[in-house]
Amino acid sequence: MTFIGEWLKEIILVVLIAVFIELLLPNRAMERYVKFVVSLLILLTLLSPLMRLFSTDASEKIESAFMDNWGGLEERGAQTATDSILAQGELLRKRREAEALQWAGEEAARQMKRQIEQETGTSVERVVVNIREGKPSSEGKPVGEAEGPVIQTVQVVMRTGETPAVEAGQKKRIAVEPVEKVRVDDVEVSAKAGPEEESDGRASEVMADTEEVNPDVTKRIEALLLREWGVPRESVTVRKGEQVSS
């Protein structure tokens, strides 16, 4: 009963306001249009219990619909709508860039691995490439890639259990066979490449790591990465697999 009472009250008030508005209107030119909209509002009020019956969040929906539409008329509303859309776009762009960087890192790692295997004849277990988004303000970067992403670290993990002599011997075999088939299961080389800004401590650590692997191989890998990828020598880590180093 209270529900019907409220509904009636609402209808009466909307009609009253509508009549009042019509009195306020300046002239007859606008009258038809205003009457149309006001009658629609009265219809909406009459329908409101029906809408409540069909959807629980009717009032919220009405409000959101009105807000959406008023965005076109109100500068402020339009501004906020634009802002939110821009923010969403920025978010999407960042996510896509992160995905692209990850993909680029994987692809670069795959190619590095193949090149290292071809160049040195050793078998590489995996190459991990970290790519960092380039910042225009950061220093020490080559002029050419002021804005683009930069290879932060390259980690080459060699397969373990191979002596340099054996590696050298295998290299000759590799020259004949496809590289992929000549994987030696137990040598690991890990190389790490960092940005030029990287600290000296990191570099020396890298050098310490490289001691484990044949220095000749390490040097060749570093030279290859520097030549092909522009990765600075001190940021490449070549290390053996964990079975050997531990």
Binding site: E6, K9, E10, L13, V14, I17, A18, F20, I21, L24, L25, P26, N27, A29, M30, Y33, V34, F36, V37, V38, L40, L41, L43, L44, T45, L47, L50, M51, F54, S55, S59, K61, I62, E63, A65, F66, D68, N69, W70, G72, L73
Partner: protein, 129 residues
């Protein structure tokens, strides 16, 4: 007594315009426009009082404020469009005045769009699928 002020202002402005119109039509137009703006600004305070009462009424009786806001927006658009159109019409630019009125009508119709959408949605839900 405020109505006397308004009418007096209007009369004085009219006489001034009649006197000046022969020599300087431009100034006559300026006087007319500024008188109109003055009366309009004078009325805005009064309309504000009316609207406050309406809002209080609506709030106390539980009418959705969004309805009242829509209606008030319609009044505002109608008044402003009408005012601008009349000033322009006084200056003799009938076509521009009618364009202003057209803009006002379109704006009012834009306000009707969400209402129409909601009503149609409700009716569509009523119909069996």
């Amino acid at each position: 007594m405020e109505i006397i002020q308004v009418v007096g202002l209007g009369l004085v402005a009219t006489i001034l315009i009649l006197v000046i119109k022969e020599q300087k039509p431009l100034f006559a137009f300026l006087i007319a426009a500024s008188t109109g703006i003055y009366i309009f600004l004078f009325l805005i305070g009064k309309i504000g009082g009316i609207i406050e009462v309406l809002e209080d009424l609506a709030e106390s009786s539980g009418v959705q404020m969004i309805y009242l806001k829509t209606i008030l927006k319609i009044i505002g658009i109608a008044y402003i469009a009408e005012f601008g159109a009349q000033i322009v019409r006084d200056a003799g630019q009938e076509s521009i005045a009618s364009k202003i009125e057209l803009a006002g009508k379109v704006m009012i119709m834009v306000l009707a769009i969400p209402i129409i959408t909601i009503i149609i949605e409700t009716v569509m839900k009523l119909l069996p699928a």
